[in-house]
Assembly symmetry: C2
């Protein structure tokens, strides 16, 4: 199987073998309508015989389309980001796009710029950033070279289209659940400061307490790690030992919850006997911890799908200073997902485009919370 002795066959080789012009081969490959069935068959056979594959670089050069999407990730080792990343990759592939990823080293502005440069140099057509921190989103918003860009878990006000889980709602539900159990108030071990997800969870927790007229304890900020959960759990156990009323804790993620559970255990505080605990993420381990952890499940797959949908919609809306805007029309126009949530989505005319897709979070109730008799401790 070799014209051009040994070299990868090119379109002209296929054409020669099929007895047509290279352009006809191109037409077959691109599914143009006006090619005789018999010709199509012959060309297909030639392609098969030579094991021919189109050269994507040549194609990209002339079509001005790379078919490549970039994904910016920050610590894709954490459960949430890892799941999101996988979901995005899947959705992109289904939409016929390739995916190139960059993991940010740090959360500095320079790291963001560096990563963005890296993607731009690959001529990505668009980009999705798993950007859980305010600083990152801001840096991204400033970087006008990387467009269109969808921020996952992005937060409002950046001007970027955003897809996120309803963190606030999830936190609200979790807190509400604890209050409904009879707890007078709920403590909160929060995520890392400056992380948007963490802040949203604080918001939801606060709103539930405020609505119920419950006292609002000072939240304790961790860094998402089991270690920090453990440390803050120890602190809470100490407060309790000194007489503070600590009967329910909403922890901003499951990993920290594990540390909290450990700290309480060391102090002889029973869960859910003495204190109820609710986590966030629903990691696979949650159900099998001792006690099984009540937690909040997030629909990462939908986040992945929605972010691709939004990105593709931005892409087909055209406009924007992207380097790769093609002259031809785009595929799947208007494929943007259901836009929900109480945020201003001024997108009817495609003008301001503060797109914001909110994906649900749902409680998974397990044995780490128990009903509590009303009355002072």
């Amino acid at each position: 199987m070799s014209e051009r002795d040994g070299r990868t066959p090119v379109m002209a080789d296929v054409a020669r073998l099929a007895g047509v012009s290279h352009q006809t081969v191109s037409r077959v490959l691109n599914g143009h309508p006006n090619v005789r069935t018999e010709t199509v068959v012959r060309v297909r056979a030639a392609i098969e015989e030579l094991g021919y594959r189109r050269n994507p670089s040549a194609r990209a050069l002339v079509t001005r389309r790379t078919n490549l999407l970039g994904v910016l990730a920050f610590d894709s080792t954490l459960f949430g980001p890892a799941r999101t990343l996988a979901a995005i990759e899947n959705a992109a592939r289904e939409a016929g796009y390739f995916v190139s990823i960059v993991n940010l080293d740090g959360i500095t502005r320079e790291a963001v710029v560096e990563a963005a440069t890296y993607l731009v140099e690959q001529s990505v057509e668009g980009c999705i950033a798993i950007a859980p921190q305010r600083a990152v989103v801001e840096a991204l918003a400033d970087l006008s070279g990387l467009r269109p860009l969808v921020a996952v878990e992005g937060g409002e006000g950046s001007g970027l289209p955003v897809v996120c889980v309803d963190q606030e709602g999830g936190a609200y539900t979790a807190t509400r659940h604890l209050l409904d159990l009879g707890h007078r108030t709920v403590h909160h071990i929060a995520g890392k400061r400056d992380w948007l997800e963490g802040e949203a969870r604080v918001e939801g927790w606060r709103r539930a307490l405020a609505e119920a007229g419950a006292p609002v304890p000072e939240p304790a900020y961790g860094d998402w790690s089991p270690r920090s959960g453990y440390e803050l759990g120890l602190r809470l156990a100490g407060e309790r030992a000194r007489g503070a009323e600590v009967t329910a804790v909403f922890v901003a993620n499951d990993q920290m919850s594990i540390g909290v559970l450990r700290a309480f255990h060391e102090h002889g505080i029973g869960v859910p006997g003495d204190v109820s605990v609710v986590g966030f993420d629903d990691i696979p381990e949650a159900e099998y911890l001792t006690p099984a952890l009540t937690t909040v499940w997030q629909d990462f797959d939908q986040v992945g799908r929605a972010s691709i949908d939004v990105l593709l919609a931005e892409l087909s809306d055209g406009g924007g200073p992207s380097a790769l805007r093609p002259p031809v029309t785009r595929h799947r126009p208007g494929a943007a997902a259901s836009r929900r949530g109480g945020t201003p989505s001024t997108d009817a005319s495609g003008a301001v485009s503060s797109v914001r897709v909110v994906v649900p979070a749902r409680m998974r109730i397990r044995h780490s919370t128990a009903p509590r008799l009303p009355g002072p401790p």
Copy 2:
């Protein structure tokens, strides 16, 4: 900043602005020696002013180098694969390569073929497969279109270069540790059948027992999930209740260990009081479980670095039926990492090339194991 009204600037625009030919611009960009410093400065300034970026497609078309590496992953949500993936991405970026990832949907042969096709269509220069299962490695070995290819956690006999963690050694050490504590034997809850990592861990466990002349109980096979750990833990607890001597368990990963811990807890079996448990992976949670889990740590970062090193070495060795073999010499020749482990690495002449890089695993001893008085139960 626009020649060519609004369109992305090309090399010719830079050339015009700098008052040189486009070829001189190319030379500056590629660091050719014979360009006057003054010219370099002028060109650089023009590039800066126009915000010019090379078109990678055009470049790839003529150089026949895409600078792209493909990574095939299977369930990159699990801790190990996620860490490995991140490490590979980092190492690739440091080596100046882009990375495109595909997540396999299933472990069927078709899924492998599909993913491979997907990567070939992108003209990756080489590929790394995180291929933890025998079936996948075999499918990969048959697929001659995707070369060079490095199998991470690949197992022997496939003919592919392999980078892997010393699973067998880690398992041996873990089992040995339990035996040294005074246990007469060690039970094993194994990983999913057909997973090479799981099999290697069974091997190591078996070797330690055999060496010590300890009885070898039938291993119980799980599927890496906390749920399966729980189920098999219940079974073990049942056996123990019926009088079997179960005092030590080596579990093939930490996630299953969590399920085991839960099962034992439900049955009133104390860990490490009644039974010692050792896991594998050293997930961040391990230290904060109750009890803290003794486990085996794997150097994923080194796996990532080594796999890129090996791939780059294969790339520069030339040969192989890759579609993209460039006519020019490659960078970083002979960068392959330390080759260790007791496997036949017939690579001196670059001939058979059964490269096998083994990366260390180390025990992390914590409170889930305790010394045991000798004697029958």
